[in-house]
Symmetry: C2
């Protein structure tokens, strides 16, 4: 399969990233981050999550963030909405695109959201109805697609089942998440081959973690399988919640560098992206998690 | 092209790695490192370099290291020998395999070894004669194959020229080094396609740096092009001499994890390798540069 001429990068740093940083940051810093990401040319930014700040203090103030950001025409500003309450809050905040998540692992589903996979899917039914009424697009995340911290290996057929259910319910795109970063290139290709029989490949996105250093090899393997949408987190924000000190979300900078090298268009300016990533790393007082950003910033000293 | 059933990992940590660490370490620690690497199952270890300790203090004591290590039958213990003086010293130390290096970039050759590429190749002629007399195998490194810190892009045809010269002179294997880690998967494949017309692919090795996070994607791309030998450095020893704070040699642990995931045999035990890498990281007082090692060690806490 020839490489695609263009891919879409889904920036998940302000949500998936910041949610997994230890230290919550204030609304003004979040707004500044999203605005800088907008100015880098990204077409899709996941801005926040509508969850109880009791459970996820890092995501407090998402309504204010949505109110504060400068929206650029053509850019999607999305929110994660784990349940109906979250969806209602997102609608009240004027959000036009939301995301829901389900696990491909029963154990992970039970421990993470306290219900079975089937139950989690059922709970989404009224959410899809409400979203449709308000003309809101819904994106679906499937977690643990290449391994689970509790179960180990996850069958590709199980991932296909959850993916096709979400797709049938109304998700326009399914993001396949290697939540713990254990996947390698061959398994990634087999997974996409199997899930791609139930969901069109242009409706699938790759969401890789770099915990074992495999993320970019998996992105490249996905490109070879016809995938054209990739989630990534600026500066590698988020780390790995399952192994302290380990790497988490693949950094948007590293994915962008790969795409540039392959001659694949993204519309994103690397220099501006690196600048945004370093700024938020400074705010958090953490090392920049992007190899590309560290190399570029070190070379410019 | 189907993936190979087996690859050989060339461990360059004790030489390429330690040579680029700021702090020299003593002979006993080097011997312990090589012995632990032997016990991990590696078949090829580059033990040291025979250069003037005035220029490279990190490589002082290489003769003593060779005298101190426990040799396992079937394992190759190699030395880098930049010139005839180094080769004589290696022969005196009982070394049975050496490596020479040339650059694919004229500017890099001039600045790094103070002569043109052609001159550097000429200087090797008597070394090959001496090596042959002593039944010593010679491996060749070509640096800057996917980019040069001074010239930027390097033509694949230029890499092919240097590679075929070294091969014709008597190198049994040519290691293609992305010295500054700027290469991406598509360029890697094109390079191998072009160099592979002059040197058989089973005589080529990939030597990737992770400076821009691309190393494992390039390893995977190389596998797809039929390459079956990869250089790597335990714990990512070495860093990047051209950008302080940036990543350098790809870590052996990360490459091994990829191979295991792909079902490719290497004969190397990951647990022992991680243990060796963490031990030398502790000796050097540096963070372990392997994603896999950090993830495994974090999970075991």
């Amino acid at each position: 399969m020839p490489l695609p001429p263009k891919v879409r990068l889904v920036e998940v740093g302000p949500r998936d990233g910041l949610q997994n940083e230890k230290q919550p940051i204030d609304v003004a810093h979040k707004v500044a981050l999203v605005d800088e990401l907008t100015n880098s040319g990204l077409e899709y930014i996941e801005v926040g999550s509508f969850v109880s700040p009791k459970w996820v203090p890092q995501m407090a103030g998402s309504s204010e963030v949505f109110a504060g950001i400068t929206r650029k025409p053509g850019v999607t500003y999305a929110a994660l909405t784990p349940n109906m309450k979250g969806l209602d809050a997102a609608i009240a905040a004027g959000v036009k695109e939301v995301a829901v998540f389900a696990a491909a692992s029963e154990s992970f589903s039970q421990r993470n959201i306290n219900c079975s996979i089937a139950e989690s899917l059922e709970r989404f039914v009224p959410m899809f109805e409400t979203a449709q009424k308000h003309d809101i697009r819904v994106r679906g995340y499937v977690s643990c697609v290449l391994g689970c911290p509790y179960e180990g290996d996850i069958a590709a057929e199980q991932v296909a089942y959850v993916s096709r259910e979400l797709y049938a319910m109304g998700c326009y795109e399914i993001s396949l998440g290697d939540t713990i970063g254990v996947g390698t290139a061959g398994k990634t290709r087999r997974l996409l081959d199997i899930v791609g029989r139930d969901v069109p490949r242009d409706r699938l996105a790759g969401h890789f973690h770099d915990t074992y250093g495999q993320a970019l090899a998996n992105v490249y393997a996905s490109l070879l399988e016809g995938i054209t949408v990739f989630d990534a987190s600026v500066a590698g924000l988020g780390g790995c919640p399952y192994a302290k000190g380990a790497t988490g979300n693949v950094s948007t900078e590293d994915v962008l560098y790969l795409m540039q090298g392959l001659g694949i268009e993204t519309g994103v300016n690397l220099e501006r992206l690196v600048s945004a990533g370093q700024r938020i790393s400074d705010v958090l007082g953490r090392q920049n998690g992007s190899n590309v950003a560290r190399a570029i910033l070190a070379a410019s000293k």
